[in-house]
């Protein structure tokens, strides 16, 4: 399933998300909050857990020097739809706080920050396609002009039965920007990803 480049292709599954649970259990970690997350957060949680499984590369940096920059096309629409369903029927009007709290895509940044105790700058952009050049530029600027020494950069989307998640870890120290390591082309090539089901974004 995992390639040398760190890619993970999901097997086709029709088990209502139980593959996520399987992957979570395979990690052998105890983090019950995982079960409460929406599907987008679970996806990014798993991607980052596998990315950092054997190498918590960011541990050498103070928590406020690790930034996060993510983007997707569909924001939190997957959960928004679920929330709308719970408030549409005026006769059966029971908004669910456990769902509502996930009606913003950047909540996933909060979940990753809590999990890894990070508190650097974080940003979430909504763009139809993965704008590698823009993302690379943004991360470059963060590493060049702020205190941040590393950046977790990702693209993650979940809508209906399609999902895709790619996460990169960029260190200013080991990827000198002046040598053009952090280029859009490299960002597109060097990644760790989960992709799955019928459609890939």
């Amino acid at each position: 399933m995992f390639t040398d480049e760190g890619q993970f292709e999901f097997p086709a599954f029709d088990d209502d998300g139980k593959s996520f649970k399987h992957l979570y259990k395979q990690l052998g970690i105890d983090y019950p909050k995982f079960y409460k997350m929406n599907r987008l957060c679970k996806l990014v949680f798993l991607t980052t857990e596998y990315l950092f499984k054997n190498n918590n590369a960011f541990n050498k940096y103070p928590p406020d020097e690790v930034a996060m920059v993510f983007s997707n096309a569909n924001s939190s629409l997957d959960t928004d739809t679920k929330h709308v369903k719970s408030i549409t029927d005026k006769e059966n009007y029971f908004p669910k706080p456990a769902v509502f709290v996930y009606t913003l895509p950047n909540i996933l940044l909060g979940e990753i920050s809590i999990r890894h105790k990070l508190n650097g700058e974080n940003n979430f952009f909504i763009t139809e396609n993965f704008e590698a050049e823009f993302m690379a530029g943004y991360a470059t600027n963060l590493l060049n002009t702020t205190k941040h020494k590393a950046c977790i950069l990702g693209r993650a989307d979940y809508l209906g039965d399609a999902f895709d998640s790619s996460v990169f870890f960029i260190e200013a120290a080991t990827n000198p920007l002046k040598e053009d390591v952090l280029t859009a082309e490299n960002l597109e090539r060097k990644f760790y990803t989960f992709a799955g089901h019928k459609n890939k974004y």
């Binding site: 996520f20 019950p32 079960y35 409460k36 029971f94």
Partner: protein
């Protein structure tokens, strides 16, 4: 009591949106908050609503809430006593 515990676990999975969790994943005696399921204040709201909606029980005293919602077992005991 067994049936009530099963029903409570089903209710918790439903109201807290624990999509991938099954009844067997919830320990009857384990703390629901912080440890165990790692629930928080938002989840407490959901559980309070569930108690009212499903069992017609209101929790007026927040201090008692802490005891009642300690675990699935303590929730079941509270319902049984009422």
């Amino acid at each position: 009591m067994e049936d009530l515990i099963r029903k409570l676990k089903e209710g918790i999975i439903e109201v807290l949106n624990l999509e991938e969790m099954e009844i067997g994943d919830i320990d009857t005696d384990a703390p629901l908050f912080n440890e165990g399921l790692g629930l928080d204040s938002i989840d407490a709201l959901e559980l309070i609503v569930m108690m009212e909606k499903e069992y017609g029980l209101k929790i007026d005293d927040p201090k008692k809430g802490k005891e009642i919602f300690y675990s699935v077992k303590t929730m079941a005991e509270f319902i049984t006593k009422k």
